[in-house]
């Protein structure tokens, strides 16, 4: 049973139905063989009946020949010869049939040969009688008949025919017994084969049913639990496929935007490369301009030095003017003091000093005005000196700025060279970026196509998942039904 339990269902069914088929084949073969024997035996029986019929016909034809001969002998009427005439042809045919029917039986051939001799003798006797009646009349003929030669021939013929018939009857009896034995054997085989086949089918059916019920029930149970799990998985797969389809749609949109961005980047990189080339040209031009500007700055530096020198000289002159102005101011002050003192003296002189007082006042007024103008001039000179100092300081600052500018322009020239080199590098980088971005755009397009395909696949997966879910649900229901059919107690 352990070997049987390891067999597959197909092997079990093949073994069961094969055993049943083998039983049926054995029964069929045996029945076919016995049926063939029966048919052959029946054919032989028919053959024996044909032989016996031919023997009877031979005796009857010989009797007809004798009857016609004797009627003609008695009546002399030729019309009585018709049975005799008819029997002559039939007898030869009958003998030929007998020889043919008993061709395989030497004993019967020998009897037929004896029959033929006796028949020929009888026919010769009848012919003699007819000839005698026709030639010598009734009496001669009656006399010849009365010799009993013909009777003796007929008796011998009947004896030979009886022997042949007896042999045929023996054969019939023997074949009947063989047919009955064969039929009995056939019935027995059919019965036993039927019983054996039925038992085998029942046994195999029971075994297959029991094992299949157990195994299929277990398998169906597993299928049901697996279907349930698969149903859950299909649900998750359906929801996952839906989310995936949504995500892929979003990804497709994002990639489309990314593609647009890549194209914009490519265009921007192209513009950057173009701008970088223009910048490189401008940098080279700027480098020449910087050299020219550096020369100009050197000229400005010399001019500024001259301005500083002139302004310092101007400041010195202003100081000298201030010194002169101090003298003028002091003179004006002294003049004013003299005028004041003159006024005092004039007042002390009384009436005689009044005219002098007037003159002294005029002098004092003039000194006041000169003093005021001197103050104004001093203020102006101070302004000039302040302006000169401011200008000198500004010029010196400017000179320093020019120096710094000159150095910075040197640095600027170096920077321009570096910028030109960097711009060349930038141009190459921008071109590489442009090329890379174009390649990236192409790749992104391919990715977009792939994502579109994946999106379509996701949608199809979603549809498939739905169909799978439906199929799994049907499978669960089907497994329940199947389990209910196979193991009703477990189906509940």
């Amino acid at each position: 049973m352990s070997v049987f339990s390891n067999w597959t269902i197909g092997r079990r069914l093949l073994a069961g139905f094969g055993l049943s088929a083998l039983t049926l084949v054995v029964v069929a073969v045996v029945s076919y063989r016995n049926a063939g024997l029966l048919i052959e035996n029946d054919s032989l029986v028919d053959h024996s009946h044909e032989v016996r019929l031919a023997l009877e016909n031979l005796l009857s034809e010989v009797t007809d020949s004798e009857t016609g001969s004797r009627g003609y002998v008695i009546t002399g009427d030729d019309s009585y010869l018709e049975p005799h005439t008819s029997a002559l042809g039939a007898i030869s045919n009958t003998l030929a049939d007998l020889r043919k029917l008993t061709a395989e039986d030497p004993e019967q051939q020998r009897r037929i040969a004896a029959m033929s001799t006796e028949v020929d003798a009888k026919l010769a006797d009848d012919k003699q009688h007819i000839d005698l009646r026709r030639s010598e009349g009734f009496d001669a003929a009656a006399k010849a008949v009365a010799t009993n030669v013909g009777k003796a021939n007929m008796d011998k013929l009947r004896a030979i025919v009886a022997g042949a018939d007896q042999q045929e009857r023996n054969l019939l009896r023997q074949r009947t017994e063989e047919a009955q034995a064969s039929a009995s054997m056939t019935q027995l085989i059919i019965l036993l084969g039927g019983l054996l086949g039925t038992g085998a089918v029942c046994l195999i059916g029971w075994l297959i049913t029991r094992s299949l019920a157990n195994q299929i029930g277990s398998a169906v149970g597993q299928v049901r639990s697996s279907s349930t799990e698969l149903q859950s998985a299909a649900n998750q797969q359906a929801s996952g496929a839906k989310e995936q389809a949504t995500a892929m749609a979003e990804i497709s949109t994002t990639i489309s935007e990314l593609l647009a961005s890549s194209r914009q980047i490519a265009e921007s990189a192209q513009r950057v490369a173009h701008s970088a080339e223009e910048t490189a040209n401008a940098a080279r031009t700027g480098h020449g301009t910087v050299d020219m500007t550096n020369d100009s700055i050197s000229g400005i530096r010399r001019q500024v030095d001259q301005i500083v020198s002139h302004m310092l000289e101007l400041g010195k002159k202003s100081q000298e003017i201030g010194a002169v102005l101090d003298i003028v101011s002091e003179l004006a002050e002294q003049t004013n003091i003299l005028a004041i003192n003159a006024t005092i003296e004039a007042a002390g002189a009384g009436e005689a000093g009044k005219r002098f007082a007037v003159v002294a006042e005029e002098i004092r007024n003039l000194a006041d005005r000169v003093g005021g103008s001197t103050k104004e001039v001093r203020g102006l000179i101070e302004d000039v000196r302040g302006a000169v100092n401011t200008t000198v300081m500004a010029t010196e600052t400017g000179s320093k700025a020019v120096d710094a500018g000159s150095r910075q322009f040197g640095d600027l020239a170096s920077a321009f060279k570096a910028i030109a080199n960097l711009v060349t590098t930038t141009t190459e980088a921008a071109r590489e970026i442009e090329l890379s971005t174009k390649q990236q755009s192409t790749a992104v397009e391919q990715v977009n196509v792939a994502v579109a395909n994946v999106t379509q696949a996701s949608v199809e997966t979603e549809t498939s998942a739905g169909q799978t879910l439906q199929t799994v649900s049907q499978m669960v229901s089907l497994s329940k039904d199947l389990l209910r059919i196979i193991q009703p107690h477990m189906a509940a």
Binding site: E333, Q334, N336, I337, T343, A347, L366, E376
Partner: protein, 180 residues
Amino acid sequence: MTGAPASLADRVSELRSAFDRAFAAPLRTETTTKIDLVAIRVGSESCAIRLAEIRSLFADSAITRIPGGNTALLGIANSRGELVPAYRLRTLLGLSGTGDSRWLVIAAAAPVAFACEAFEGHLRASAESILPRQSSGRMHEFATEFVRSGDVVRPIIALSSVIAALGTMPDAAASMVTQE
């Protein structure tokens, strides 16, 4: 820069014409009574002194310092061959201020010099424009009147009262002044 020379030229032209007018105009006679004042600056205060109280005015005269405990006494100055004591006027008046007192005012009433910080001009005011001054403190002892010149109000320092106050000071120079 173009305006300044023109302005200076105008000023010079104005000065020249004023100088010429002074000699071309006829002698005028005073019809109204005017009081002559000398405008000075004492410390940071603008003041005035009647011209009648002044004998002379000098600037940057040499002052020989002499030992003594009077903080107002700067030393001895030479006024036309006469030695006079020189006092710092702002110290005497109790005014605050800094700077060099390079101007010497010689009083007419006594041979005393008062040093002030600046000589600001000659004023000629009518008697009506001199008004009594209402104030308190030490300054009021020496300036009981004031005169207005333009926007500036100047107390009129009475040198006689200052000289009188010097007589009460226990100082050698002051005693020298009082003896004379």
